[in-house]
Symmetry: C2
């Protein structure tokens, strides 16, 4: 019997340790093909490359996985993989393991989830995995059990139309369990550190922190991540706000 | 009395004709501040710049508007404008007029709508305007009446929480009217044109077309744009798929 085909991407790039750990944790569940960006693409959201060419670079197989990198964004990786890399339609797309949180409203900016959303939109079940640590030597080992469980469940049962999963793991702790929740209402403070270049001209660098607007709500991801639980957030690729149609019809 | 402050961005860049027409069409409705990308950012979605500095460049006032460009994405423009450019909190954010469609599922990749979503997430009413023509000399004049009407209504009444508007206009025709609808279920074909560089190595360029999955559905934007109507689509910045929570709790 043909094994399931699992296409893996990420936003930290082909050489990211988190990507390699994800391959290690799921390689026994199917045939693995990787299409990841050449380099870091954090914050790329669902951006795609329209005004420049793309290259595909071959890399040595890793733990049985076919490895390709793409000179574009996570969304570009999924699109060109579907066209030029995968030998058949994938049964599942995984993205990650991201070095850093995609909880709360960070999903909006996340390249990890951009790749997952892209797969979701073409009807392939998709899961983004993220660990709440940016460290290059972060310890992913606590996530293995949960990644295997979630990946197996989605391979077996699929996901509803227009829904993908945004899974976040706490770092530097024993993971206490797993919660299926929604993303917390949250926002980023708009802060920029200001510098002066050698010519006396200013430049700016994004800093800023995420603010949880509902810190006491146990139905949200940020609440449980704070308490050392993994969180599974069903996330929607469809942007329609159909509940707002009556309001708009009234005011226009 | 203080006039409303309207912050305008886009994804085609500070020199785009569509941006200048938008200023022309709304300058009498408030004080206008523009923060637009230095150059083209089509397809940038909600990408932001995390690993590079940003510059802000001053430009001469245009039709009473303060003009600034930013060396980043549409989302960067909104974020840094809120921090370093606007004299007070904007009452409204407009994005556009985009040269090209953002109808159907194109909203996912749209830098125009990335800027609008960013404003929406910080609680500022926001509207993206797009014309279905990529021509640099596109005729925007038919859109003026509708842009004024929609902008005035939103200035007066606001928008529901987490909702912004994605407004598309047909091109090269008399606009027959305006419809408040949802975005059509649609997808892009993953097509890449393949080339060979002077060294014999392949490179790829995204082509592909949008496919309307429900062409006969009169509750959708693509249906009415085909029939020369402007379309107003309420769009959600919140990605939670709360309807899928029971399914996920069952399978995990």
């Amino acid at each position: 019997m043909t094994k399931p085909l699992i296409l893996i991407s990420n936003d930290d790039g082909i050489s990211s340790p988190g990507l390699h750990r994800l391959i290690d944790y799921v390689h026994h569940l199917g045939d693995i093909v990787v299409a990841a960006p050449d380099g870091p693409c954090s914050g790329k959201s669902a951006a795609l490359t329209v005004n420049a060419p793309l290259r595909i670079t071959e890399h040595p197989d890793y733990n049985g996985a076919i490895m390709r990198s793409v000179s574009g964004t996570p969304v570009d990786c999924i699109k060109i993989a579907m066209h030029n890399i995968v030998p058949r339609r994938p049964d599942l797309v995984l993205s990650g393991i991201n070095h850093g949180s995609n909880a709360g409203n960070s999903i909006i900016y996340s390249g990890t989830m951009g790749a997952a959303m892209e797969a979701c939109m073409i009807g392939i079940p998709a899961i983004g995995y993220s660990l709440l640590s940016h460290a290059i030597d972060a310890d992913f080992s606590e996530t293995e059990h949960y990644i295997e469980q979630i990946t197996k469940a989605v391979l077996a049962k699929g996901l509803p139309k227009d829904v993908c999963l945004n899974v976040n793991f706490p770092a530097k702790c024993k993971i206490e369990g797993m919660k299926v929740v929604r993303a917390a209402d949250s926002h980023w403070t708009e802060e920029y550190q200001q510098y002066v270049d050698p010519n006396g001209k200013p430049f700016y660098w994004l800093s800023g922190k995420i603010v949880n607007e509902e810190p006491d709500n146990s139905e949200t991801d940020l609440y449980w991540l704070d308490r050392n639980y993994a969180t599974v957030v069903p996330s929607c690729s469809n942007r329609n706000a159909v509940n707002a149609l009556p309001f708009m019809k009234e005011i226009l």
